[in-house]
Amino acid sequence: MTFWLVQTLNGISFGMLLFLLAAGLSLIYGLMKVLNLAHGSFYLLGGYIGLAVIHVTGSFVLAALAGSLTIAVIGSLVERFFLRRLYLQELPQALLTFGFLFIFSDLATVIWGRNPETIPKPSMFRESLQLGAFYYPSYRLFIIAFGLVVAGFLWWLQEGTRVGAMLRASVDDEETARALGINVSVLFTLVFALGAFLAALGGVMGGPIVGVYPGADFEVLLLGFVVVIVGGLGSLKGALVGGLVVGLLDNFGKVFFPELALFTIFAPMALILAVRPAGLFGRE
């Protein structure tokens, strides 16, 4: 029983990290129909910058802020100066973002080397909490709570604010939104920056439990894709539900079938594709 509870909580906390990643992927695709292959880089670079900052300042909060804000700026630069020129050109966009994935990945190994690193947990969450009969790391519980807060915030941003209304209008009908005076161009940059911010935040938050290492960019990109395939591109709810589903499956897969771990996320993806090609919450 304890085993199942612990593994479930592990899966959910990992799922929350995947949600942070996939929410950005999904928002970006929803608005500008860009499949951002460099999203894994944003995650990894966020983690590395967080690591560098925590080594200097010792503060996890500062590390998270520095990592995600820096990457948000980098993301907006990538959007403004590169992606923008390839609007609605699927293959060139894929090439461009994949190129950035390579560039960032190589730069990261130049700056931070090839050794896997771990970000120290924030001091508040070093201990384990007693949950009834067993102990559970409080940091993972914090990730779960934090993920829910971010989900709530994003939902409020989309449904309850003026910017969110503009965003939804632009997703539904970009031309009319422009005609109504909505500055879609600025919105593009903002959403791309927000997506990069969330991915980098995921990188810093995940640092203490999954580590920061070369190759993580490709790994989380794959998982992020599976999340949006399951949940549906462009849907926040899809990113959350998909994140949890993939997080749990990935965790239990690694526990039960260590040699074929990826297969356990393949099966549900195949199932979803067979039944709902656009994902659980995607629009056809």
Partner: protein
């Protein structure tokens, strides 16, 4: 194809001359190049075939796959394992590799072909990475990260009574040249057949082809499996060339590299992707001899191609000609 070439050649003699010279040069190459450069030529030819197979999907079928290395790698692993563990002859190991690549593509095609565009890209990438994950994780079969070293090259003497073994570089070069030529010939036949034209029709307007009574799904599916089979052939050849197979064979980085080759050369032309492949293989070998930052430069090549040559070298040449034709 010979009839097709003859027809073209009679209307445009320079083409016939160029083709003839090209064939002669390819045949003479082992006597002109050092072993190192001959190896480079072998790599170029294999990747040319690989890129052309992806072009069947992208340039003709309009299906942007980012998981094409999966079939290259699956065929490579199959051939490698059979040759290494069971000492199976090349005449069985390669067909087995092709069969497994085709079967996997048939399975993946059932899933991926339910989608279009970005979803297709994403799903082919995800499926490809799952195969990579299996190759990486299933140590007892695949050797995991270490791969499978010392795959023996085929010894045709043993099975055919021919006077040479392919462990020597020159006969191996001819073996690859012959295989790639057959693959290219078949691909040209496919894209110039009614099937190929129907595929282009589907790329341009799916609804119109549906209205004309074409079974669009079946055309896409057949193209998907065929493309995977040719990628598989490239994978089998590469395993024999490299005498090694590892998860890198089917990593998304390789899928993206072959996509880059297709776009760099110019999709929808076959010759373009072949040129793109030769160019990237050449650059990779030359640049990595001088610097460790090949990945960085490769990334920059992606960015430059995406921004400045999205229609590829062939597209640039066409544009140049158009400009010159205008008074």
């Amino acid at each position: 194809m010979s009839a097709f070439l003859l027809k073209r050649a009679s209307t445009w003699p320079p083409l016939a001359a160029a083709a003839l010279i090209g064939i002669l040069v390819l045949l003479a190459l082992p006597y002109l190049l050092s072993p190192y450069h001959l190896g480079l030529a072998v790599q170029m030819m294999i990747f040319a075939l690989f890129a052309m197979s992806l072009d069947l999907l992208i340039g003709y079928g309009g299906m942007p796959s980012l998981g094409h290395a999966a079939y290259f790698g699956i065929a490579g692993y199959t051939t490698g394992l059979l040759a290494l563990r069971l000492s199976l002859s090349v005449w069985l190991a390669i067909p087995a590799g092709l069969l497994l690549a085709a079967l996997t593509a048939a399975l993946f095609g059932l899933l991926a072909l339910r989608t279009r565009g970005s979803y297709f890209l994403m799903i082919t990438l995800a499926l490809g990475q799952v195969v990579w994950g299996i190759a990486f994780g299933w140590r007892s079969l695949t050797g995991g990260d270490d791969g499978l070293p010392d795959v023996p090259r085929p010894d045709l003497g043993l099975h055919l009574g021919l006077p040479w073994s392919l462990t020597d570089n020159t006969p191996f070069y001819y073996f690859v040249l012959f295989s790639v030529a057959v693959g290219t010939f078949l691909l040209i036949r496919i894209v110039t057949s009614p099937f190929g034209y129907a595929l282009r029709g589907i790329r341009e307007s799916e609804t119109r082809m549906l209205a004309l009574g074409y079974n669009v799904w079946r055309y896409r599916f057949v193209a998907f499996v065929l493309a995977a089979t040719f990628a598989g052939l490239a994978g089998c050849l590469y395993v024999y060339y490299d005498r090694f197979v590892s998860p890198d064979y089917l990593h998304v980085a390789r899928s993206a590299e072959v996509l880059l080759m297709v776009i760099l050369g110019g999709s929808g032309t076959l010759i373009g992707p072949a040129i793109g492949a030769a160019l990237i293989v050449f650059l990779e070998n030359v640049i990595s001899a001088y610097t460790e930052r090949w990945l960085l430069l490769l990334g920059l090549i992606y960015v430059v191609v995406a921004l400045f040559a999205p229609t590829g070298l062939i597209g640039l040449v066409r544009e140049f000609r158009l400009r010159r034709a205008e008074p």
